[in-house]
């Protein structure tokens, strides 16, 4: 951590921030040989990708579901002690022009953890997509291994892990793979396994395009890093029961990414995000319709 006795957005602050990032890049360069040694010890597989038309041939007739959530933290600035979560499940039957969106929304009290409620609701959407066989593959925008929950108190941590277990169980019982996709992962599993303390995605930053690492098991889930663009590799997680289907799953992931607007992020998750998103304007609209109980003058003074 760096501390400075100055405003962040000032010549000194910006300069210090830029230096911090540059120092990180320099460390990355210094350790590149070390990272290459780790990467060379891993096994990789290739996806025989051949562009957008190939993606269509892979996806023809396949039903895919994408799940993503959005949240409104308790509207404290309006004196409303309630928050909300909205989860969208976007379904598409590729090649047949059929699609649909389903929603689960939940309203929470101030005392509840909106993050936990959101994760539970997202896992419930995954579970329902499996039990009701809405897709052949179910994508989730996030991790199936909520390692971020490890720092939380026990009761809260338990909620995250219980929620994901339910989804994984439904996936296995229905034989429908759920796929956790993290575009920018800061996990350190491969690093730690090799005695390093750095981010896996940076260690693998030189891996070949259209390749992915052999899946590694962590509990009920196995993970792999896939690189479909010149950017850093993304992390893909699936339940262990689906490990033998990894090649096919990665083909689907690659094809979905090629359909996406950036060719680097799965199309179904882009659409799920589009439908789940709650904009700032919608948030204010929600507050006004709920009946503002007491506006915070602090909030009013901060509005542009």
């Amino acid at each position: 951590m760096v501390e400075l006795r100055d405003k962040l957005i000032s010549p000194a602050g910006i300069s210090r921030f830029s230096s911090f990032v540059r120092e990180f890049s320099m460390e990355l360069e210094r350790r590149r040989k070390e990272f290459r040694d780790v990467a060379s010890s891993l096994k990789f597989r290739r996806v025989k990708c051949r562009g957008k038309k190939w993606a269509l041939s892979v996806l023809k007739g396949v039903k895919v579901v994408g799940v993503d959530g959005s949240q409104v933290s308790p509207l404290r600035e309006f004196g409303i002690p309630a928050g909300a979560v909205q989860v969208a499940s976007y379904e598409v039957h590729h090649g047949y022009g059929k699609w649909g969106v389903r929603y689960i929304s939940r309203i929470t009290r101030l005392e509840e953890s909106v993050d936990a409620v959101r994760y539970e609701t997202e896992m419930r959407a995954l579970m329902e997509s499996c039990t009701e066989k809405r897709g052949d593959f179910i994508f989730y925008d996030g991790s199936l291994t909520p390692s971020f929950a490890r720092e939380m108190r026990e009761e809260l941590r338990g909620r995250f892990f219980k929620a994901v277990k339910t989804a994984i169980k439904a996936s296995e019982e229905s034989s429908i793979p759920v796929i956790g996709y993290t575009d920018r992962s800061y996990a350190k599993d491969i690093a730690r396994a090799n005695g390093l303390d750095f981010y896996d995605s940076f260690i693998l930053s030189d891996m070949e395009l259209m390749h992915y690492t052999e899946p590694v098991e962590v509990g009920d889930v196995c993970f792999s890093y896939a690189r479909f663009t010149p950017s850093l590799p993304s992390r893909v997680e699936i339940p262990v029961w689906a490990k033998s289907r990894m090649d096919r799953i990665m083909e689907i992931v690659c094809a979905e990414c090629l359909l996406g607007s950036t060719s680097a992020y799965p199309f179904v998750l882009e659409r799920a995000h589009h439908y789940a998103r709650i904009s700032e304007k919608e948030r204010e609209y929600l507050a006004r319709n709920a009946g503002i109980m007491s506006v915070s003058f602090k909030w009013v003074s901060k509005k542009p």
Partner: protein, 155 residues
């Protein structure tokens, strides 16, 4: 079609209506003041794919969402408005007659506010009212007033 957003006396409907048409939403009557289409995301996604391929594999992105904006016909001091989710349909002659009659008296308390919004839409509303209230002279007077304003560029 349904009401999707309400902002005081203006509300939005998911679908294409005709500008100047009188519609019923909940217990209110309103006039359609604008219709606008949201830019489809087709351009963002299509790339080398044909439109047929986009429709088959990414079907929701070719749907062009149309939103119609409506102005509630109510007088100063009145505050009713439809609720989000209310069904919107074209107002029938009976709807219009009931809405504009108190006792046996014809009333149009919103007229001058409507005139400030858009003179052509105000004229469209009057022409619709004329079909229901054929013998109401006040409608003819107001129509002549509008024609005068249009003739002399006061609209």
């Amino acid at each position: 079609m349904q009401v999707i957003r309400v902002m005081d006396r203006v509300f939005e409907v998911d679908g294409k209506l005709r500008v100047g048409e009188i519609v019923k939403a909940g217990d209110c009557l309103a006039v359609v003041v604008s219709v606008s289409g949201e830019e489809p995301e087709y351009v963002k996604y299509a790339g080398e794919l044909s439109r047929d391929e986009v429709e088959a594999y990414m079907p929701d992105i070719v749907e062009n969402r149309v939103v119609s904006k409506c102005y509630v016909l109510r007088g100063v001091g009145e505050s009713f408005a439809p609720d989000v989710g209310d069904t919107v349909s074209s107002a029938s002659d009976e709807d219009i007659r009931k809405y504009h009659t108190r006792g046996d008296e014809f009333r149009i308390p919103y007229f001058y506010q409507l005139l400030k919004i858009d003179i052509d839409i105000a004229k469209s509303v009057l022409l619709r009212l004329k079909k229901v209230f054929e013998n109401e002279e006040i409608i003819d007077v107001l129509l002549r007033e509008i024609d005068y304003m249009l003739m002399y560029g006061k609209g």
